[in-house]
């Protein structure tokens, strides 16, 4: 069973800081890696990464995948209090078409 591990589990920074969240995965049946943001309700989709080395960007958020080292990072620059959330990464399993989630990183942005 593929496993996804996120680090850190919790992070507290000040508004304006840049943060990097990490996600490592096992490769047995890898297809893609997905990032989600979860505030008070259900997770909302951020990025899907399938190819190594290609950065995906949306505003202050960006993400990249390294298929050789089996990890992905999510960067948030110039953080705002509205970025406070749990960030989840998930591996999409080839064939089975299901997602295996990491534990999540709880990010808190203090004003």
């Amino acid at each position: 069973e593929d496993k996804v591990v996120q680090s850190p589990l919790s992070l507290v920074v000040h508004e304006g800081d840049t943060v990097t969240l990490n996600c490592s995965y096992e490769v047995t049946n890898f297809r893609s890696l997905l990032w989600y943001k979860q505030e008070k309700k259900a997770p909302t989709f951020l990025f899907m990464l399938t190819s190594s080395g290609i950065e995906k960007k949306s505003g202050r958020l960006s993400s990249i995948l390294d298929k050789k080292e089996l990890f992905s990072i999510l960067n948030i620059t110039a953080t705002q209090t509205g970025d406070s959330a749990v960030y989840l990464c998930a591996e999409l399993i080839q064939g089975a078409q299901k997602l295996v989630f990491g534990q999540g990183t709880r990010l808190t942005i203090n004003p």
Binding site: E1, L34, A42, P43, F45, Q97, K98, V100, G104
Partner: protein
């Protein structure tokens, strides 16, 4: 917009009761999922279904069953609720047509007393 709805946002049940959680999606997605989310454990897959009347066990199926009689509806059943099933339950759907964005419902917070 993809819409995934769940029948209840909050539910309180007694130990031993039979509990039905309903999930409906309106985007004709083939794949549907039930997760539970607990602090420190992330999202754990209970069951998923890739077609009508088809189901597969996820990582923690014990104590649960599912039903998928129609493509748009996926039900999670707790045959005899127990206190360790107190959790947030999230339903999701996923298209298999190349774009693998998974869309979540709003969640049902179930408390078993």
């Amino acid at each position: 917009d993809v819409k995934v709805t769940q029948s209840s946002r909050y539910l309180v049940k007694r130990t031993g009761e039979k509990v039905f959680l309903e999930c409906v999606q309106d985007m004709d997605h083939e794949n549907m999922f039930w997760y539970r989310q607990d602090p420190g454990l992330g999202l754990r897959l209970i069951y998923f279904s890739y077609d009508v009347k088809m189901k597969e066990k996820g990582d923690i199926p014990e104590g649960y069953s599912v039903s998928r009689e129609k493509k748009e509806r996926f039900s999670l059943i707790l045959e005899s609720a127990s206190t360790n099933q107190t959790s947030m339950y999230l339903c999701a759907s996923l298209t298999s047509g190349g774009n693998y964005e998974q869309y979540f419902g709003p969640g049902t917070r179930l408390t078993v007393t």
